[in-house]
Amino acid sequence: MELTNYLVLSAILFSIGAATVLLRRNAIIVFMGIELMLNASNLAFVTFARMHGDLTGQVIAFFVMVVAAAEVVVGLAIIVSIFRTRRSASVDDANLLKN
């Protein structure tokens, strides 16, 4: 199969992730959108690594996974602390700082 297809898939996944972050209300779903964007980048890295016959891209994918895990820890902690206060995980309810 053409390697380009994987790139197209990764671009589509990235766009879905970005749209999720920008459009959805639920903080957890927004968060999943971010994870989707990171994984789409991973797919692109691995595909390019295959195209170039170079291992760097695959190694980077591991680094990104670790970073994504760290981000989950921090992100969920913040979302949970907000949820416990307000009983809501909606992004729109967090609006005290608007002018």
Partner: protein, 586 residues
């Protein structure tokens, strides 16, 4: 690079250990091990001593890191030095510019830490006693009564500083991405830990996290595209291949990959500096985060992110065919102009002092971008000087804000009085504080004899000079000057409020009224006529303001920053010379 090493190792049949430039890594090792040790301190040191241990350890670590950076500078950039060191075959590029950025970050982090440490005369730091507790819950109240302290702040700060130090020295996109995350993740947590107005703080933390993670993902995808374009994540390699592609020989439209990639990577960095259209988080987070942390991230994050942007643009990552370069230049021009205009215009309408400084920092991001967009050597120097001047004034200004507090009806000291109206009469209440704050504001405004003026002057003149390849940025400089002129208005407005408006109510009056409610009740219908009663009404609407005494560290920081701002404004030559010498060598 990794593939090559693996191949050579396989050919030789042995494992070749990489060479580690330990001396070059020493400042980083010091700062990050202070963070790791700080985590262990949390587990093993009894609660009573934790704060002292953490404070001493972090301050010593930052001071030591700064000393080593100076030592490195003397060794590498002095007579006969190598002019810089490359770590792990190019993962970190420790040249003169990187050392200047690291030095600025560590120095500013030290002073920001001094403000974080200061508990003021109230003997409470700016952080919640228990970040895990629900705001307003019994658990929180219990933690407060027990006098718990969240000393995790200090290791978190050290990790953030570590990431910031790697950021401007990164030689490839992967290192830059990791540095971006290492500096961001602690900041997300720190901004959610304010002692008071915790809902705002948690919300700020959440917004910062979501938008920050989004920006990192954009950065990462851009990095993937650049890797696909060039087969390498190293800036110099990307630059080399860009040169080859520009000569022809690559598939059609191959350069578009570069264009989209570099724009996405730059977007990720522009988010960190708070440039339009990625500025939405800045005022919210600046307002919601604990004020000492706001000072820290306003100054140090900006320095680090501009360092990274400078490295990306000036060291090879930024070299394609002239059409592509023009396209990126136009995009950055639009961003710079929009940033300056939004920062100054929206900033002028703000009534909250932290929010106002947030918009001011957006405007300053625009001014620094003007310096970067000069695309010449003078631009690099101007950017470094600008960031130094800006961070001096920023840390000082936020340190002042930590000392101006609201008081409750019983006279107890509450959170910061951030509404501009509450700053009325500060000049009479605390002339020293108001004078220092005015110096910082004048420096932000770019009035002569302050550091801000020299900074703006060097940045704009570098832009006017421009580069032979991409032309001059005179238009940008003109817009910059106009934007600064508008900005002067809102900085001066604060000075006028502080010095020439009478204070709304003094503290003592309110306390008296609060102590004699019985008399007022006996007075019956006279309540409404009683002038003292109206002062209570005013006080409940806008709580009275008091200037708390600092434990010493904040006061010292404010004085040093004010002195620094004036010194850089009156005799900038030594610092400008130093920056010029170091950047020319490295």
């Amino acid at each position: 690079m990794i593939a090559q090493a693996a191949q050579t190792a396989a050919a030789a049949g042995t494992f070749v250990a990489p060479e580690v430039a330990w001396f070059a890594l020493t400042p980083l090792i010091i700062v990050i091990s202070a963070g790791v040790l700080g985590v262990l301190v949390e587990s093993f040191v009894p609660a009573a001593h934790r704060r002292t241990v953490q404070v001493v350890m972090t301050m010593v670590a930052l001071a030591a890191a700064f000393a080593v950076i100076v030592w490195q500078g003397v060794t590498w950039l002095g007579e006969g030095g190598p002019g810089g060191v490359v770590v792990f075959g190019g993962v970190l590029q420790l040249d003169g510019v990187a050392l200047l950025f690291q030095g600025t970050i560590v120095l500013m982090a030290f002073f920001a830490l001094a403000v974080v440490v200061d508990r003021t005369a109230v003997k409470q730091d700016a952080f919640t006693p228990s970040a895990a507790s629900i705001p307003g819950s019994e658990h929180e109240e219990l933690a407060r009564r027990l006098g718990l302290v969240q000393t995790e702040v200090y290791p978190l700060l050290m990790f953030a500083v570590g990431g910031m130090m790697i950021f401007p020295a990164a030689g490839d996109l992967l290192t830059m991405f990791i540095a971006l995350e290492v500096l961001s993740l602690p900041l997300y947590v720190l901004s959610g830990m304010a002692r008071r107005r915790r809902l705002l703080s948690q919300e700020a933390s959440f917004k910062y996290f979501v938008l920050g993670a989004f920006a990192s993902a954009v950065f990462l995808f851009g990095a993937a595209l650049l890797y696909g374009y060039s087969g390498s994540v190293r800036f110099d390699a990307i630059g080399r291949i860009s040169g080859a592609v520009a000569q022809g020989g690559a598939p059609e439209n191959w350069e578009l990959l570069w264009l989209v990639g570099i724009l996405m990577v730059i977007s990720g960095l522009l988010f960190k500096v708070g440039a339009v259209p990625f500025q939405a988080w800045t005022p919210d987070v600046y307002q919601g985060a604990p004020t000492p942390i706001t000072g820290f991230m306003a100054a140090c994050t900006k320095v680090a992110a501009f360092g990274a942007l400078l490295r990306l643009i000036y060291t090879g990552g930024f070299s394609g065919s002239i059409d592509m370069l023009e396209a990126v230049k136009v995009a950055l021009w639009v961003v710079a102009i929009a940033t300056m205009i939004v920062g100054t215009v929206v900033g002028a309408t703000q009534t909250d002092i932290k929010r106002m400084l947030g918009y001011s920092s957006i405007a300053h991001a625009g001014f620094v971008l003007v310096g970067i967009l000069s695309f010449n050597n003078a631009g690099i120097k101007a950017v470094i000087f600008y960031l130094l001047a800006y961070s001096l004034a920023t840390i000082g200004a936020f340190a002042v804000i930590t000392l101006v507090r609201e008081t409750g009806p019983g006279g107890e000291v509450l959170g910061e009085a951030t509404h501009l109206g509450q700053w009325a009469g500060l000049g009479r209440r605390s002339p020293w504080l108001a004078t220092c704050f005015s110096i910082f504001l004048l420096s932000f405004a770019g009035i002569p004899l302050t550091a801000g003026f020299i900074a703006k002057f060097t940045a704009f003149s570098a832009a006017v000079e421009g580069s032979p390849l991409l032309g001059s940025g005179t238009v940008l400089a003109v817009i910059g000057v106009l934007a600064s002129a508008v900005a002067v208005f809102f900085y001066i407005r604060v000075i006028v409020i502080m010095f020439f408006m009478p204070p709304t109510e003094t503290v003592t009056e309110v306390v008296e009224v609060a102590e004699v409610p019985a008399e007022v009740l006996v007075g019956g219908e006279q309540i409404a006529m009683n002038p003292a009663q109206t002062s209570v009404v005013v006080a409940t609407g806008a709580p009275a303001v008091v200037v708390v005494r600092s434990e010493g560290l904040s006061a010292a920081t404010i004085s040093i920053m004010a002195a620094g701002v004036l010194l850089l404004g009156i005799v900038p030559a030594p610092v400008l010379d130093l920056i010029a010498r170091v950047t020319d060598v490295g």
